[in-house]
Amino acid sequence: DTAVSQTPKYLVTQMGNDKSIKCEQNLGHDTMYWYKQDSKKFLKIMFSYNNKELIINETVPNRFSPKSPDKAHLNLHINSLELGDSAVYFCASSQDSGKGDTQYFGPGTRLTVL
């Protein structure tokens, strides 16, 4: 059973299009995240949701809009895609135990904008 799954794994699209990436976790965690990993391998937080509520929203263009229909799902919608959006996007989840948040990552979605 996959703990954190993402679809699609690969996404190739033209500039200006709108696309969505989906994420689901079956771990029962209450917090989910979207990270972006650029070509230099830096992994940066974009958004974090706790029990369907947005708790972290880093400096991300408002073309990116996360949606959490329930605490097991966190989707990422991107409008008007730009070349610079090409990256690998990772979803993750964690359960806040108060002792540190071990995060479980999905396999990533490699987005290529042409």
């Binding site: 391998k41 830096f42 940066k44 937080i45 071990t102 995060q103 479980y104």
Partner: protein, 112 residues
């Protein structure tokens, strides 16, 4: 910033040798975590060490933490070709912010 910075950027060793990677950070922390990323995959959690701990072991992994120097090290003993991956450290603050901040990692290549 809370970001950890891994050193060296790249490391190449022979199978059976030990690999040591270092991490430095700038703020006070509640814990520090190490993750591994195989090529084309998501990150996998390896070990978490709390700020009141100095050393922790998990199988062939040994992690140390020196909060006075704001540094941590990850030692992989008796390395295997399957250990080839990028390794990231993530210092985490005490409260509030749950998201982790990663550096660019150490790329470890274990030659068979």
């Amino acid at each position: 910033s809370q970001q950890g910075e891994e050193d060296p950027q790249a490391l190449s060793i022979q199978e059976g040798e030990n690999a040591t990677m270092n991490c430095s950070y700038k703020t006070s922390i509640n814990n520090l975590q190490w993750y591994r990323q195989n090529s084309g995959r998501g990150l996998v959690h390896l070990i978490l060490i709390r700020s009141n701990e100095r050393e922790k072991h998990s199988g062939r992994l040994r992690v140390t933490l020196d909060t006075s120097k704001k540094s941590s090290s990850l030692l992989i003993t008796a390395s295997r070709a399957a250990d080839t991956a990028s390794y990231f450290c993530a210092p985490q603050r005490a409260a509030g912010r749950r998201a982790l901040t990663f550096g660019s990692g150490t790329r470890l290549q274990v030659q068979p």
